[in-house]
Symmetry: D5
Subunit: 91 residues, 10 copies
């Protein structure tokens, strides 16, 4: 199943820059793993914002949730998940 997943990350203002750096590196690493697992299919930037839209694949919404929640920046992410149904023209 496919989903459109939007998220915007707002780290706490006072967070120390080293911690921010480590988080971002781990985030990229985790995102790469999710690509290899076939869960994260495509990623775009929302122009002008620190936000992204992604095409994700998962066997269920529960699996999708666990994949998103595995991202290191998850505690500071504002996420909306939009389920997609197959269009007959794609068959």
């Amino acid at each position: 199943m496919e989903f459109l997943v939007r998220f915007e990350t707002t780290l706490p203002p006072g967070m120390d820059s080293e911690e921010v750096g480590r988080l971002k590196t781990n985030e990229r690493k985790r995102a790469t793993e999710l690509r290899q697992e076939g869960k994260l299919v495509r990623l775009w930037r929302v122009p002008g914002r620190r936000a992204v839209v992604g095409l994700w694949k998962a066997a269920s919404t529960t699996e999708l949730h666990e994949a998103i929640a595995s991202l290191p920046q998850f505690p500071w992410m504002d996420v909306t998940v939009e389920p997609l149904a197959l269009h007959p023209q794609e068959l």
Copy 2:
């Protein structure tokens, strides 16, 4: 997978009352079939409105779409689908 599905049906004002009656009968029949198939699990009324909220089950969003679209009043239904993920406390 489980979904919360809301819909409000607005039939065209001029529709002839016999047609309305037939539609509603077929709607109930189809809903009963969907229950027997395990797709429609629970149905509630939104108090004060001609709208319902239902707990649905489907193997995928595509299957869910086809189930909803099979309802005779589908062309006049305003539907929102909310995907639900399993909560660990339910395991």
Copy 3:
């Protein structure tokens, strides 16, 4: 009577991690009690968020309020309550 109750919990950023741990343990304990009392019937996660949707039962909205307010994380919860009416097809 049945209600759909949504809530998202945002603990203050500076809260010490032990306090957070204790709150979460007590929250799970209280939720289990509410299940045994028949008030909390089903719980789902909103995919991608630190939010839940639950099916609750209470004899009145006042009783429902007291049950929700008894959750340890209540001071930091953003809650919306949706009343549900019985649908004739469920009789």
Copy 4:
């Protein structure tokens, strides 16, 4: 239990004026009955609109729904129901 119920009635433009008159008379009659049954407690007009806000009482949301749905103009009413919980200062 008490509820705040808002509704705005929009009759179809082409409806013949006699039918409108009969509906309004029956509406007032039914409202009076609902008062006598203790279900409709107070009614206010939303200033400037053909809309009302009412304080209603019912043993359950299902009973409330049936009371509202018994109003002759129900098919043309846009209704929102807000559940109210008892405030400790009122005990």
Copy 5:
């Protein structure tokens, strides 16, 4: 004149608990006075929230404002005032 007044109070996170206690006691005292003055007529809780809906009476919106602003927690209250007009069925 009658008004529906909603408010939700959010005290600053760091406020010392004694100060919070004193504020809440004074709030209850002031609310009781407003009842005796006939300004605060009925109060309900919004189920699940730290918010209230109240039926208020005042000779003018200015008098209503002064009554609400006299509540000790006013600086931290998010308030909406809805004016109500008399319904002919109430005469």
Copy 6:
């Protein structure tokens, strides 16, 4: 008491142009009367729309409602009323 009253009028598409003309003439006449009664104080156009914002005066919201409802185009008006309280700098 003073109120900001916004309204946008949408006459039914099929209304015959003579009827529209008569309505508009009567509307202007009634508006002039309301000015003489001191109820309609100032009127502005919302630039680009067939909508107006007005400063109104009335002894109560009920009196305000009756004044607005006395406008010939009332059945086709979408109105919002905003109550205003006196500002101390105006005393």
Copy 7:
């Protein structure tokens, strides 16, 4: 450049069924051409609605507009276009 394009089509209620049939056939034909031109990349159904979300490609927003406006059902489509920027992880 890539865009997320959502649209929901609402044909006029009275439209004769043959005309509806012809429109839908031409719509599918045009959509196929847009795929061959590489403009329409992926299409999904919004579960439960007569609406679609699509991933589109165009050299400019003007070219995108002309492609969407070339769809036979365009006069009855409610469209929103969301521009997407390339994400560095996709390079």
Copy 8:
């Protein structure tokens, strides 16, 4: 003074096609006049919609309103006007 003016035109469904053609021709003619008068400065299409955004100039909001209201399709236009203030970097 400069303004951003958005509008979307929805002609009544039953309007006869000749009348539609005449309206559109007159609309273009009037728009050209407004350009010559320096009132309409730039016009863009909202991609995917039958809507436009324009940069307009007028000595006052009243003059702007009269210019917009002079467009033949004004009775069927949904318009929003956004006032713009000069930015110091433009001096």
Copy 9:
């Protein structure tokens, strides 16, 4: 030209009370000057809130912006400006 200007002021929680007092005094002084300049015409309180609605006059939106920005509390004000056009009935 006339404008309806709404603003709500939220001073930072930790601001020292003397600084708050000085700001409020200077705010009143500046408001009085703006009245003398004919820019601030009328001011009302939004009942129940720490917010105001004002009728302002300015030769342009740029002049209006500078007048509002000259208020000492401007950095903490949430402002919306609504342009008003002259209504023919006011001529």
Copy 10:
């Protein structure tokens, strides 16, 4: 391609004033460079707010994103980007 870009900047309350001064100087410098590159075409102030609307040009949304993200105050900016399509009357 042209875009309407809105942004409102909210610097953290505790930021030291020298840092704020440096940021604003660099912001003006960067904005001037973007003008010279032809990316920032026109800039207006939203009257009454610390917000701007700008007309921008870029070969793609990705290029636009990079231009906006190059502004020193980008981490504290709330941005919305609206894509514009060419209007035939502008050819």
